[in-house]
């Protein structure tokens, strides 16, 4: 049997537990961490994410192949980049000033490009940011289901793109590969994909096939 990657989810707010549950349901070993003591989230893990291991962030990351950043973007600047150095990092965060306020560092350019520029030792993939946490679990479907929806992944790294696309497929979505972080701006708040749960065809139309390889 195929050995699945171990996933560390950083963040136990609105989004982190939902991604962790999806990953557990798909068979991945999952740990979850916040900036604090794992004891603080032990109950959350036990009741909301059965099967997830609460850990200190450093331990969760050390034991993981894939790290999911599911924290508010303004907390991202408090993370030491060396924490996730050498890891494949899914950036599930959003820069959403109308909801979370203005962050000067994120005013210019795609948020995941800015995240990647800070995490110089990591490979960053933008994914799991554009489907609302209310929907992410409810709309997941197995491969081939007629009402299956699409989820995007964007990165500059070809191998990482294939890995995360396979993961999205396993989590319950048709993976839509965007072949640069720059192209991943199509997944951001305000764009047609964001907050909608689209079919593959609707997704392709929304991002425009010609934009998929924007350098």
């Amino acid at each position: 049997m195929e050995q699945l990657s171990t996933i560390a989810v950083l963040g136990a707010g609105h989004v982190g537990p939902v991604i962790a549950r999806l990953a557990i349901r798909a068979g991945y070993p999952v740990s979850i961490a916040t900036s604090g003591d794992p004891l603080d989230i032990a109950l959350i893990a036990e009741l909301l994410i059965p099967g997830a291991q609460p850990r200190w962030a450093s331990e969760a990351v050390a034991g993981a192949d894939i790290v999911v950043l599911a924290i508010p973007l303004h907390r991202f600047v408090e993370i030491d980049p060396s924490l996730v150095s050498g890891k494949l990092v899914i950036d599930a965060m959003n820069y959403w000033p109308a909801s979370d306020g203005v962050l000067t560092a994120f005013e210019d350019g795609g948020s995941s490009e800015i995240v990647a520029a800070r995490l110089t030792g990591s490979t960053v993939v933008k994914a799991l940011n554009h489907i609302g946490y209310h929907d992410l679990e409810d709309r997941a479907r197995p491969t081939g289901a007629p009402d299956r929806r699409a989820a995007g992944a964007a990165t500059d790294d070809v191998a990482a793109l294939a890995t995360i696309a396979a993961m999205l497929d396993r989590l319950g979505y048709d993976p839509m590969e965007l072949e640069s972080l720059r192209a991943g701006r199509a997944l951001e708040p305000g764009e047609a994909v964001f907050g909608s749960v689209l079919t593959r065809a609707e997704f392709e139309q929304a991002v425009g096939r010609d934009e998929r390889n924007l350098a």
């Binding site: 136990a12 609105h14 109950l43 909801s99 209310h134 708040p189």
Partner: protein
């Protein structure tokens, strides 16, 4: 099991029968009439949610609740929610303790962020400080509720040293809740500080919040606290038939979500998503008294909650439509839910 039923408004700006918006002032006067009528219709609680926009001109709900208190005798009155992070907990305590005095002990308060972020720039707060502001201020508010002189120090307001904060509560702490929209760490915080839990469910299947109720109860036990109630707050609209309720509500819902979507960049509802949300597993309570009553009963059971607050109204509905909603909710929905749950 004792169940209680409330109505919440955000001061949704009314329209007249031709669709013309009424003034902010007239909308506020209408809310006073709606609160008074809610008592006559048999509703247990009337809540006003703080908002600061043209379509929700309701920044001072406590003043409006004072007017309702002076004309009612039984209905409980409170905020739904108070945006505590951009307010001063001492002032919030003073205003609701005053409301409690006026109303003869009928005041409650629900603390939270709500969906409203407008108060942050308005009062000079940075949304990036949201967690610290809420955590410190909720902690201080919990302290204020215990009565007696308060000593407190933090980063978000001036320290207090043996400070007597008036008016004193006549008969113990007000019922106080923390409103939670889906962050489990907020559930833990409510339990840690001894607040009751208000689940704001505005989209998706309500049943997924059952784990939050369990989390709250387990956390209360772990913090050595007595059991506290869970309430569910959701939007809706009651009319004589399902068709009428949907026909009245849908265009107003589409307008408001379209407006918010343009500001915040999220998806505009479709006829399909509206059908899903108004169906048995959605978050909107829109329909005939029987439809809405069945849905409330099912979700109170599923979520192990003992109170349901219907957020009635939407900008652009008329005062008459809201009064009809209140009458049907009080005289038909509430008795029917009690029957279904007995």
């Amino acid at each position: 099991m004792t169940y209680t039923f409330g109505l919440d408004t955000f001061g949704d700006r009314n329209a007249d029968a031709s669709g013309q918006p009424l003034t902010h002032a007239q909308t506020i006067r209408n809310v006073v009439e709606e609160g008074v009528f809610a008592e006559q219709a048999g509703v247990d609680f009337f809540g006003i949610g703080e908002h600061h926009t043209d379509v929700f001109p309701m920044p001072a709900g406590d003043v409006v609740l004072g007017a309702i208190a002076a004309r009612t005798e039984r209905i409980r009155l409170g905020s739904a929610v108070t945006v505590l992070s951009s307010d001063d907990p001492v002032r919030v305590f003073q205003r609701y303790s005053t409301l409690n005095a006026i109303s003869g002990g009928r005041a409650e308060v629900i603390l939270g962020r709500g969906s409203s972020i407008d108060s942050f720039p308005l009062f000079g707060y940075d949304l990036a400080d949201y967690e610290l502001l809420f955590d410190e201020k909720a902690t201080l508010f919990a302290e204020l509720l215990t009565g007696g002189p308060v000593t407190w120090q933090g980063k978000t307001r001036a320290p207090l040293l043996h400070q007597d904060v008036v008016p004193h509560l006549e008969s113990g702490p007000l019922p106080a809740w923390i409103g939670v929209g889906g962050n489990p760490q907020s559930v833990i915080r409510a339990a840690r500080l001894g607040f009751s839990l208000a689940l704001a469910i505005i989209g998706g299947p309500p049943a997924r919040f059952a784990a939050y109720s369990q989390l709250f109860r387990r956390a209360l036990t772990e913090f050595g606290r007595e059991p506290l109630p869970v309430l569910v707050h959701s939007p809706g609209h009651v009319a004589a038939t399902d068709e009428q309720a949907k026909a009245e509500f849908w265009p107003r819902w589409l307008d408001i979500i379209t407006l918010m979507a343009s500001e915040r960049g999220f998806a505009i509802p479709t006829a399909e998503s509206f059908e899903r949300e108004t169906g048995p597993s959605g978050a909107l309570y829109v329909g005939s008294p029987e439809t809405v009553a069945r849905k409330i009963a099912a979700n109170l059971r599923a979520l192990d909650a003992t109170r349901f607050d219907l957020k009635y109204g939407m900008p652009g509905l008329t005062h008459d439509q809201l009064m009809s909603n209140i009458e049907l909710y009080g005289r038909q929905v509430i008795p029917r839910v009690r029957e279904l749950l007995s």
